[in-house]
Symmetry: C2
Subunit: 355 residues, 2 copies
């Protein structure tokens, strides 16, 4: 088995190094191969997703990804910016199902912006469609407006779209995931305004007929953004499109207070996947050795479970992470009075020791 | 001066009645004319925005709106659903600038999901563009996919678009509003993915050159959804498009804990406007006399200030609302131990008495 390791930019290198350390101590048979991606790849070879990196990712059984992006690339034309690497990987690898758990770790309840009683024990799973919607829809660009409020003026435009099979496959993923949890799916749409999401709602409802044991409800995206703040525990699995999922999964992650702890998986139809922390590249703290490696370490655990058929090894990592939290070790982002502040390396070492 | 009064559905009738009571006691010279809208209009005449209602709204100097919508209309074809009334009014009246204040009332700090220190004193203004974006962009509909992941399959699509003058005029509104506040504007976009919002960012930046005394920063919508939860007080004025504004303004309103208190204004280029509470029609509590009329009463105050050049009358209403809160009167949605629970009518009467 081969794992492509793409550390990327900012804190990416530091946190991925710790996850690799953890993977190595498990003594499983796999090969790790590292390649540059994002701004780092642009610096090295003029493109955020070099051919060689893409080939490696395609050939591998799974991809462990750090983070990409830095303000210093803001002035580059869009096609060369670091974010294009992650969009390109999703597209070329067909990673249409994004799993974004939003879990509030018991030891970190106090770190949430929300009152503890609203988030204690929170465990929701946001499933975001990742290769369709307005992210990839054509046509898009700039032109002279032919109609609208100001015909003749310059305008920019994008196309939102979903086809029936795209909605069907993500709906199946959501219902199947719910079966392993509390058997409730909330499909988030904007059917009252958008043709795309009226269709989304219709198709999800049709697919639901095959899952009579799972409860389905529909919620408008604006209401979902409110309910996440008001009563996040009312959700179990949330399934939605690429654009709404981008917004809601970040909102939900931040609510938990545990964002430095949250892994994510982006899967193709054969459960090959790309695994990355839910947080970003944090260029402001890069190189300082203070970033929290736990989201990346837990992403490696997800990888073992979802793509590499090693559920026991995954469980060992998860237990070790639980143990270091219980020992009171905390990186700066999750530190509070009475716990012990540690750096990126020490945290990784502690997980290794706990394994 | 003429005010069109459109109570609508659900709790709309009850809360608008209280706002009308308050307006009448001010003894100003204006005429009030009521017309049906939303589900109520559909029942009466087969259309959610009857010609007569639209004509009245067009002829009036301002519109006082309650709320529209009820689950029972979910099965109607989209063009006949209650929400089409509000979309139609925005479009036909050219109400492109939506003001959504998110204020945490001192007396209600405890009602927020967020920890009190994060919301105490919160006062942000979300300015949402309201007649462009993917809400009204053509073409839209269903068709057979010509390309994409599943060519030949059924798909639905919508068009996101913004023209330069549309972005310019809302940017001017935001910068001018910021001048009367803390002189900071955050423009929310998704320039890293969408052509429309790269253009948005570019044009907002250009318009900013005319407002050197106002600070401008740019934030991606996913990050904005997180920062609202993490540190809402970092914002002053937030300006964004129709779709992102729909989501973020509801998220922000819910964060305050004061959603039953929050008014909104939707203005055209001459400051003619439609005024409505930020909350919805709440069919579950309609007719029970328990809804909070204060958001609607405060919307009437906004109307006096923005569209009817009666700032003193507006201030009298706002002071009266402050007074009833200080007296400890609360409708069920904002009630807490130690305060006095009152119904919709009693709350309206108390405001009238305080004036
Ligand atoms: C970097 C950006 C293109 C990306 C997205 O919008 O999908 C990011 O926000 C994410 O959620 O992974
Ligand atoms: C009812 C609906 C069409 C509307 C919108 O999406 O604009 C509502 O959510 C709002 O924010 O006023």
């Amino acid at each position: 088995m081969k794992i492509a390791v793409l550390p990327g930019d900012g804190i990416g290198t530091e946190i991925v190094a710790e996850a690799v350390k953890v993977l190595k101590v498990l003594d499983l048979k796999f090969e790790l191969e590292t390649a540059p991606v994002g701004g780092a790849a642009y610096e090295a070879s003029g493109h955020p997703l070099p051919e060689a990196t893409l080939k490696l990712a395609q050939a591998a059984d799974a991809v462990l990804f750090g983070a990409v992006g830095d303000w210093k690339y803001d002035k580059l034309e869009r096609a060369l910016r670091p974010e294009q690497a992650i969009l390109g990987l999703r597209k070329h690898l067909g990673l249409f199902a994004n799993f974004r758990p939003a879990i509030c770790y018991e030891q970190l309840t106090h770190a949430s912006s929300l009152k503890p009683e609203l988030v204690a024990g929170l465990d929701i799973l946001i499933i975001r469609e990742l290769t369709g919607d307005i992210y990839f829809g054509q046509p898009r660009g700039r032109r002279t407006a032919a109609d609208g409020h100001f015909p003749g003026s310059e305008e920019a435009f994008d196309t939102m779209r979903y086809s029936r099979p795209e909605i069907e496959r993500i709906a199946h993923v959501a219902f199947q995931a719910a079966r392993k949890r509390n058997k409730r799916v909330t499909s988030v749409d904007k059917a009252n305004v958008l043709e795309t999401f009226q269709f989304w709602k219709d198709v999800v409802t049709e697919v639901h007929a095959q899952y009579p044991d799972v409860e389905l409800d529909h919620m408008y995206v604006d209401n979902a953004a409110m309910q996440l703040v008001k009563a996040p525990k009312r959700f179990d699995v949330v399934v939605t499109g690429n654009m709404f999922g981008d917004i809601l999964s970040d909102e939900a992650a931040m609510l938990t207070g545990s964002i430095g702890m949250l892994p994510s998986a982006s899967l193709d139809k054969n459960n090959k996947g790309l695994y990355e922390p839910s947080h970003g590249s944090a260029p402001d703290i890069a190189g300082k050795g203070v970033a929290n490696p736990l989201a990346t370490i837990l992403s490696a655990a997800m990888m073992l479970k979802f793509s590499l058929s090693q559920p026991e090894a995954a469980a060992r990592i998860e237990a070790a992470v639980g143990a270091v939290l219980s020992q009171g070790l905390r990186t700066a982002d999750i530190w509070s009075e009475g716990t012990q502040k540690v750096g990126t390396r020490e945290m990784g070492d502690a997980v290794v020791a706990a394994i």
